[in-house]
């Protein structure tokens, strides 16, 4: 279904004063093109009571923001997008590098990232059992011991690089092995089928 021609502007028009305005629409489109960098000089981040983070940029205030990695695999600590938490998820600004915000802010944002992302790193493979098209993993991760199941037929194991792999289980959880060469020979032998 083609989208209806709703004006691409925040809240829907609900009065005559909010008439459709081509100029404003073009202005917004232009704005979307800009990279708006947030630094310790122009943005103030603060913890909220409920465990989230708010931001004030001059006059602009967002009571809760979403913190998103643009390059979660290749550069998790750089280019962090700060977005509105609603469905539209509009970009408020970009943090190019955690060094460009204060230490407290960086810590705050890292907490938010830790809340948003959950990809345990496998540190030890205890056992892998394959049975009738599924493989049952028994591993230790940086988040604690864990058992999960993957589908052997599909593309459950993705290579991010020669040595770095990402394993998706049947529940769509993801587990990372940052460097397979660091595994013991015994562990490698168990994993061999999936490499």
């Amino acid at each position: 279904m083609p989208p209806m021609g709703r004006p691409p502007r925040g809240p829907r028009p609900d009065g005559p004063e909010e008439e459709f305005n081509l100029e404003q629409m073009e202005k917004e489109t232009e704005e979307m093109l800009k990279l708006r960098y947030l630094t310790k000089d122009n943005a103030v981040f603060e913890r909220t009571e409920g465990g989230f983070v708010s931001v004030r940029i001059g006059e602009e205030f967002h009571p809760r923001v979403q913190v998103v990695r643009m390059f979660p695999f290749s550069d998790p600590d750089q280019y962090i997008s700060i977005r509105t938490p609603d469905e539209r998820s509009k970009e408020i600004g970009i943090i190019e590098n955690m060094k460009q915000v204060s230490k407290e802010t960086a810590e705050m944002l890292r907490e938010q990232l830790a809340l948003r992302y959950f990809t345990p790193i496998i540190t030890k493979i205890i056992n892998i059992k394959d049975e009738y098209g599924y493989a049952y993993f028994d591993v230790v991760t940086d988040r604690g011991a864990c058992r999960f199941t993957i589908n052997m037929g599909g593309h459950s194991v993705v290579h991010l690089s020669e040595t770095r792999i990402l394993i998706s289980d049947i529940d769509e959880n993801r587990f990372e092995i940052p460097d397979v060469t660091k595994l013991t020979t015994k562990e490698l032998k168990k994993l061999d089928l999936f490499l």
């Binding site: 279904m1 083609p2 989208p3 209806m4 021609g5 709703r6 004006p7 829907r12 028009p13 609900d14 009065g15 005559p16 909010e18 008439e19 459709f20 081509l22 909220t48 009571e49 409920g50 465990g51 989230f52 809760r64 979660p72 830790a114 809340l115 948003r116 992302y117 959950f118 990809t119 345990p120 049975e131 009738y132 098209g133 599924y134 049952y136 991760t141 988040r143 604690g144 011991a145 864990c146 058992r147 199941t149 589908n151 052997m152 049947i170 529940d171 769509e172 959880n173 993801r174 061999d192 089928l193």
Partner: protein, 737 residues
């Protein structure tokens, strides 16, 4: 999907239910806020509280009366349960992707509880792992492993074979015959050697007699094998054909919600792949099952009768042989799985580049792509070479090791022959039986895997077969002649019960009225139409047709009185005639022509070489979008429907065909209750009323003029379209200048 897990005694004590309090939902959560794995932790929702039980402690509880909102927010590979208390959002629990869907249902259930409803949310989704044995489920409700205990599988397998008793009896008879002949052969060889050949005891004619017998038996065996293979293939084909037809029929009967809940292709796989697996099992495994079992048992018995000591010696090697062959098979499986993966990489890379050739060429990347492909190809070749070498070296070694028992037998048997306690023929016979034992051993050890494949396939097939269609005719469903009054009363519906698409819709439509449905995409316009077509059942509220609950009208009777024209015009493979006649196969030529004329389709149909007999559909005559649309309209007219549904019927057509279709639609909607969705709002100018859907409910309702005066959402949409049109007109003008 389970939304109410059983709580242990300790957890129940922690929960300390008040006397009149009841548990509505209890679901596990598995990570802490800072991301450590948890066990034995539950979010429990009662009709009064939300309680978080974490590893044997009560971590936190909220009174539902204090909460403004309870929501489940998906994150990346995890999710958060967020409770809003006095306007402040707070993280109540965190869970991995394993429980994402579960918490979405629970959050929806909480919303209902907060609204004061007593309705409980339930989920038709299947669990991914068996809660009992923790194995992955092959896309079925029942676990094939755990269901087996109740004797379900054997029963299912036998009931599948039941209609073919005669063929089955014949096959079993032939299988037994094959076993007898196989076992007889060494016996005859013994006689040939001992009674005829040894010490020149017998005459030449006797030798020929035995040789002839061996030859006859071999010939007989060939005939038996051929007929066995033939009968088993035939039986397998018949059974799989049977299953396919039953499955196909069942899928047609099942409600759309069952089909939409599954990944595309999954049902197709069940019809095609799983039924083929059953056939293959019948051909490859079943056909030898009795033969091998009988041979194996009698082989063992014979060996024991002939020579207990030697037999036991031979048996001693069985576990060793099984162990070696299992290890070998495991290794081979791993190696070839890897080879298969590499092959897959090469194939998909090839497909990638060939289908994206113009991109590769226009960016001048031929060299790079070529190099990439070479690397993959080299990789594949290396793995293949390694595997072939491995096979070539180890297979003979393996056969040698597995057969080691035979050498031992030959040695000790040979000693007995030299001692005179055994004849040469007897030794040969014994050696033959021993080799037979090892030969079928391999087949038997492979049997469990083949059986499990069959069990899984049967389970997937029966999973569909045992589904009850959710929309069925009520016991007291009746036929009615529809006049065309449609009324929604507090109707709520969502494709997933945790995510309502329409909420508490109320709308009353008079017979003959034309209603235009307006709203941004994804707001539920098409959903409303799906409900009117009775493809889905409401979750809550009522839908009345002429004052009768839609559930009380016989489905077939109802569907024969509605006409549908959709944006994506679907023409079946067949002639134009058959396509127009789809809803009413007994329509006369005159009726068809009238309908085509009404739809402005008659003229272009006459221009095609084969007229109404022109073959259309996949690989058929190429019709334009407008022409297909007009055939669909003719199809809808032919039925003389009382209720008409137009879903984007005029989208993406050129101006001329749009005009023709508009005219055709005008004729069609005349005097019929019509629900129309249109992208171009101008096409809805004839609508008696416009219904604007926004935020899961009806936001505005009225005529075009009323809504324009109101200057609300509709006004915004119309002005936006006009502005956009102006811009594009200006652009065209500028371009032409």
């Amino acid at each position: 999907m389970i939304l109410n897990f059983d709580l242990s005694k300790e957890n129940q004590q922690l929960l300390a239910l008040a006397p009149n309090e009841r548990i509505c939902y209890a679901v596990p959560y598995d990570i802490t806020a800072d991301g450590r794995f948890l066990s034995n932790s539950y979010a429990v929702v009662t009709d009064k509280r939300l309680v978080l039980l974490e590893e044997g402690t009560l971590r936190k509880q909220y009174l539902l009366s204090d909460c403004d909102k309870i929501d489940s927010e998906p994150q990346i590979d995890c999710g958060l349960l967020i409770v809003t208390v006095q306007g402040k959002e707070e993280i109540a629990a965190r869970f991995s992707a394993k429980h994402l869907a579960r918490f979405s249902y629970v959050a929806r259930g909480c919303t209902l509880l907060l609204e004061g409803s007593t309705k409980l949310v339930s989920s038709e989704e299947y669990e991914k792992t068996c809660p009992n044995c923790h194995r992955a489920l092959p896309g079925t409700r029942e676990c094939p492993h755990c269901a087996k205990k109740s004797g379900g599988f054997v029963h299912e397998f036998l009931s599948m074979l039941a209609p073919y008793k005669k063929q089955l009896a014949l096959i079993v008879f032939i299988m037994l015959l094959a076993a007898v002949i196989t076992l007889l052969n060494p016996e005859i060889q013994k006689h040939l050697i001992d009674d005829v050949l040894t010490d020149k005891k017998g005459t030449l004619s006797q030798a020929f007699f035995f040789l002839g017998m061996i030859f006859a038996l071999s010939l007989f065996m060939v005939i038996i094998n051929i007929s066995k293979a033939y009968l088993c293939s035939k039986l397998g084909s018949m059974i799989s054909m049977d299953l396919r037809a039953k499955l196909y029929h069942k899928i047609q009967v099942l409600s759309l919600s069952f089909i939409n809940d599954r990944r595309p292709g999954e049902l197709m796989n069940r019809v095609v792949r799983d039924t083929t697996r059953v056939k293959q099992f019948m051909e490859d495994v079943f056909c030898n099952l009795f033969t091998v079992c009988v041979i194996f048992i009698f082989d063992v018995v014979y060996m024991l009768i002939l020579d207990v000591k030697l037999a036991l010696m031979a048996f001693l090697f069985i576990p060793i042989s099984i162990f070696i062959s299992n290890a070998f098979r495991h290794n081979i499986h791993r190696r070839f799985h890897r080879q298969w993966q590499k092959n897959d990489d090469v194939n998909s890379s090839l497909q990638d580049v060939i289908s994206g050739m113009n991109v590769v060429k226009s960016y001048g990347k031929e060299e790079t792509e070529s190099k990439k492909f070479d690397e993959l190809s080299d990789d594949f070749a290396a793995v293949q070479r390694r595997n072939e070498t491995f096979w070539a070296i180890f297979y003979p070694l393996l056969s040698f090791t597995i057969g080691a028992g035979v050498y031992l037998i030959t040695y000790f048997g040979g000693v007995s022959v030299l001692n005179g306690t055994k004849t040469t023929g007897e030794l040969l016979q014994f050696i033959n039986y021993t080799s037979m034992l090892y030969m079928y051993l391999d087949w038997l050890t492979n049997l469990p895997r083949r059986l499990m494949d069959l069990v899984n396939s049967l389970e997937r097939i029966n999973d569909v077969m045992n589904q009850e269609p959710r929309i069925v005719d009520d016991k007291d469903a009746t036929d009615i002649d529809i006049r065309g009054a449609v009324e929604f009363k507090n109707a709520t519906f969502g494709y997933k019960s945790y995510k309502p698409v329409l909420e508490k819709i109320s709308l009353s439509v008079k017979p003959g009225e034309m209603i235009g449905l307006v709203g941004a995409s994804g707001t539920g316009k098409s959903t409303m139409i799906n409900l009117i077509m009775h493809l889905y059942e409401l979750d809550d509220g009522e839908l009345l047709i002429d004052g009768t609950d839609i559930k009380k009208i016989r489905l077939e009777n109802y569907h024969s009185q509605i006409g549908v024209v959709l944006q994506e015009t679907f023409l079946f493979s067949g002639t134009i005639l058959n396509n127009i006649r789809f809803a009413k196969p007994d329509a006369t030529y005159e009726e068809v022509i009238r309908a085509a004329k009404m739809a402005n389709a008659h003229d272009f149909i006459c221009r095609t070489p084969d007229g109404y007999n022109t073959y259309v559909g996949e690989r058929g005559f190429n019709l334009s979008g407008g022409e297909r649309q007009r055939i669909a309209i003719a199809r809808a007219i032919l039925n003389q429907p009382k209720l008409l549904i137009l879903d984007e019927a005029t989208a993406s057509l050129d101006t001329e065909s749009e005009y023709l279709i508009q005219k055709a639609l005008e004729r069609l909607t005349n005097g019929r209750t019509t629900f129309a969705i249109a992208h171009r709002l101008s096409t809805l100018k004839d609508a008696d009323r416009l219904v604007v859907i926004d935020g899961h409910s009806i936001a505005e309702i009225g005529t075009h003029n009323e809504l324009m005066e109101k200057q609300g959402i509709y006004y915004g949409l119309v002005t936006a379209q006009l502005e956009m049109q102006k811009v594009s007109n200006e652009e065209t003008a500028a371009a032409q200048a």
